[in-house]
Symmetry: D2
Subunit: 378 residues, 4 copies
């Protein structure tokens, strides 16, 4: 290029005719002072088609966002309003980043208001499960019913190549249930083997290393920095974790007739990230090449799921801040099992990135708009 | 907006005439497998005007970048070439992210090649110091001479408001010396008080909490994870750190007649971030209001330096991944000192962000192009 | 030695006549479920003369100690009783590990009970300050008055060699005010220079890197693991920290006519440890050799304060779990200041170790009994 | 007790006749500057029967121990000698804390020297495996042959209650192979179910969260603090880890006819600790009560293995610095698997503590002498 120029000269010299899309989507976020809400806002600030609307919360209503989310500098002086339907009305999209159980009531109230109902993205658990029995067993209380499931890469039985069926569902959706973060890591790790029939979903074992932000900002002693630094601790051991039925549901969707899952999350000293180690028996006669082929077929066309080169294993750091899942798989001949590992950022691909990716599909925007595959490391 | 649409329909419905700038700047990075080089690439991947050219390194030449920088997914399959002038030639910009001492020789060789000399951004120390005496005392070896200094916010004596003089120097620069990371944190913390004459630069004390990435990927026992987790350790105590003369040089530029600085960096268990606590005596008769006013005047117009609301203190987490410096200042009446704190990401505002910001100025691009003020937290 | 033998044979073969001291000291701990109380118990479990008596707390009364302190295995099945005077009565020693303000009332009630008043060790702040003005300015509420100060190594003006005067005070004490953790680190770092007159206490600057356990188990958002991991954040900046007057008091005791202190603690991502970087101007004409000599004279005879070999700097990891302070000092000629660094474990030398060391003195036991100088690292 | 007294008065007043064992065991440590060697020394410093003899190493020979192990204050001024047989000769015990492959040659040389052969404790892998086929497959090179295995709690087929058979082997041992750290965690987690026949060892899945000290002080990029902080990364995935055959060997010893094990270690951001999550199918007809009973029967009598109260899960922090394994087990009805979790400090119960515990047995000393069950937390 030529030498220095003023910005004006530069534009004059180096411009071409083109088109630009004007900002047309206004998005309100309920739960703006929490981790999920904050991450949704972080991603929306980088989205070329989004105008950030109302920011609401409960305990922190009346504060400035900068007091709770100092990293979101462009929004530091925005006022947090109370979470009530009238504040959320009049937006194209409403993102609900609330404790589970809180969104059902709010969505009814929103539907009752005049004007067009916004696209609703629920980062909570209320609308993820399809079977009331699962809801009753793992959550309890009124079952709000399932919404279209916000995992574009979710494979349906019989699909090969890039997932298409789930994307079509999301393109037609006006409500979206954003998946659980652990669910995303375990599903993306194992689903290629299930849909290809090379692993047996009847004896899956998943153990996860989890960063603390997955637990939210709740003030519990075991979530204190003093307690968490320098220790590893499992929780919800023995099948009680609420993400179990959601994982089973996904693997059934991918083609599993019967799923049995042993699932153990483990808190480790990091703020973000999930590393899921997932293993399942090989189906009789399966070769290592067939296992490799199944994962390659599933993810070769996926922009946000990266099957690493053979021999390279995922680290959560490589996905930090990005909407990517890094996946690797190998065969343990001695144990007769496939071992798949998936690393994600629980707040991005595990929550806010899935919400924005689903929003893009539901709005007819390019699926990748405003999302990055570049992590922040080291 | 209306309901769902295909991307094509969307564009048809929502487009306006405009102009776009075509990609015109090709950038090569020497030292692409290190932390500074990796961070430069991370930022350039988000820069709308940049095309990433040759990636070179020494020990890792011949590897794919993904083996060393797995978080830079779009570049994972790019080959790392050996660092020699012919590989770097033919680009608009060359970024040198090499150990100090390595860039002088390379830049001579680049200048000797045919064709236009690229804009050179040196992330090393070789061209930061103006005085050969400082170089001899803190570095030694051949003095390569000072280049235009890549800190757009550096205030010159007598300036008020947003820094203009340094920006003008950078707009005309064809070579840029990127500042040291600790230097940036200490300078941005204190310079408003120096240029306004409200603090005495003759007895400055700076103590820093530093993340490990500042030490680079060098394989030394005290940089091992086992050693660093759960401990704090000072280094280069007593005035021996190479960043001391560079800080003094900046404070003189800001108007200090005589600078005396006690400087102590401290490694703490984090990968990124610098928190600089900098204190200096108040000049006689200075009021708290005058101190506040000095910092407000200096930074009200700076896009990348945020003076936090009174009472809110910087955290490195709020700047992680962003090109921002968060600053706060207060007066300790009892001690007769102003205490200023600055938090930055050592790899962004402390290195790669400063390089890109300076590059934008030198190329006549908008200064903020491709840089974010949004951090990744928690 | 000869080959294998049964324990019985071993004793028969390898025994000598001697004497042993019988366990004579029963110690009750109020606040047993907190960090300070837990650490006191950890040390007492290794003390050959102590029998652990009542364990009391408020919120956790009725629980087993193992639910709150799982690392204290020998006490895991001990019941936590409510904190009231009758539970604490009848012990030789009562350790108060309570929030500040809570101990004054309790000690009055204990004194009012029949029977001998136990030796009282208050880990809280209530009895540390000698001047009511300091109390009113930094704490407020009723001033409980100063108790003998539990820092055996505190030097008195004019003392040379190992501290003797403060030890004599503690040998005669029936109540002990355990010092603040930051206070211990800063005092041990700088007092040799003050008592030797080689540094000027009129312009002291101290910046600390602090582990999170110093903040106790209080449930505050900024103390969550998600918030603390990967960040550094200052607090109580500008002279407001309650440890300021206590440090000034100690330096005056060491001989300072007038003390001015700029004090800034900084939370960094570790559970334990304080690294204090403390700098003060050299007094005119002071040589580096005189500075070295002052620190060597002060600590050559101290069992729990280690002046490291020249050139080696303290790390908090080397003191983790031990009752040691690691100290180093150097002179910054350019800045005209001495820079002293002290590393301690805030819960041991900073709290519980100081309590046990003072208890030993007050009970006429060997000062080092039950305390270790061996840290747990890496 | 009565009021203050001098130490002399105290002894006079409070003494009883008794016996004491004189220090009779001199211990040399080869590899004193590494993590395993340093931890052995840390424990030996607290052992009432041990006199620390020669400290040897290779690269650091000629340095003072304090330069490499500053936390071992009482040994800070001890000289590190070169590792050769003559330096190690003449001691009652020699601890080998060397890279695998180095101990075989050294032990031959020690045996060839005049005088009694010392008790040899090998913290390396050279003498752990019983089958040359396992050695060839996982290590290669000359097979040195198996030594008595230093895990006193290892259950033999058919044993009930506290392990007795392995202890008898160790009482008669003159050489001891100290177990691998991961092996200890997985074995202690699962062996009760195997020996009681309530779980099927034919499909065991173990996933571990590992602190970095397990990797030693080796200078590898992925072990740098910058790389490790804030990330989780698996290694040796798919059955290739050298601890696999050792675990299988232990489970066979405990009664498993056929063992199949999927084993995945994961580096997480902590310096110490292993949390092993181990799951195996229930044998047909097994009840939850039978599972609980099996673990209770196995560990009720073990001083260093703690089966936690039902519902409380292990954390590595609770075992830090202690020779304890914290274990918990539950049944996942839905998955048809038992899930057992074991937390240890990899350097204590996983290495140095096992060495000292075995040494005590081999010397006819009380097994627990010099070992603690109290962890350092938070």
């Amino acid at each position: 290029m030529s030498g220095p120029a003023s910005p004006e000269e530069y534009v004059a010299l180096h411009s071409l005719p083109c088109i630009v899309m004007r900002v047309t989507v206004s998005v309100a976020v309920a739960g703006a002072s929490g981790y999920a809400g904050g991450e949704v806002l972080r991603l929306l600030l980088a989205h070329p088609e989004v105008e950030i609307g109302a920011l609401t919360a409960n305990a922190s209503a009346g504060d400035l966002l900068g007091q709770h989310q100092p990293h979101l500098l462009p929004l530091a002086d925005r006022l947090i309003e109370p979470t009530d339907p009238t504040r959320l009305a009049g937006h194209d999209v409403v993102v609900l980043a609330l404790p589970h159980g809180a969104s059902g009531e709010l969505t009814d109230a929103l539907a009752a208001l005049d004007g067009p109902t916004p696209l609703l993205l629920d980062c909570g658990a209320d609308h993820r499960l399809e079977h009331v029995a699962d809801w009753d067993h793992f959550y309890g209380g009124t079952f709000a019913g399932a919404w279209p499931y916000g995992m574009p890469e979710l494979r349906h039985a019989g699909e090969s190549g890039t997932a298409a069926a789930q994307r079509q569902i999301l393109r037609e959706a006006r409500t979206v249930a954003v998946p659980g973060c652990n669910v995303t890591a375990v599903t993306l790790a194992l689903q290629p083997g299930v849909s290809a029939g090379v692993v047996d979903p009847g004896d899956v074992v998943a153990v996860l290393a989890n960063g603390y932000s997955g637990a939210g900002k709740s003030l519990k002693p075991h979530l204190l920095a003093s307690e968490g630094m320098g220790t590893a601790m499992p929780y919800a051991v023995g099948g009680g974790h609420r993400h179990v039925p959601e994982i089973e549901q996904n693997l059934r969707r991918a083609g599993a007739a019967d799923v049995r899952l042993s699932f153990t999350p483990t808190l480790v000293p990091m703020a973000r990230g999930i590393l899921a180690t997932v293993t399942a028996p090989l189906t009789p006669g399966t070769t290592t090449a067939q296992v490799r082929a199944a994962w390659e077929d599933a993810y070769a066309g996926e922009a946000f799921v990266r099957l690493l080169p053979e021999g390279q294993w995922p680290t959560t750091a490589a996905t930090l801040g990005a909407n990517t899942a890094h996946v690797q798989v190998t065969v343990d001949e001695r144990a007769g099992r496939a071992v798949a590992v998936c690393a994600i950022d629980n707040l991005v691909k595990g929550t806010a990135g899935a919400a924005v990716q689903s929003m893009n599909l539901a709005l007819g925007l390019p699926e990748q708009l405003g999302l990055t595959t570049v992590g922040v490391a080291p």
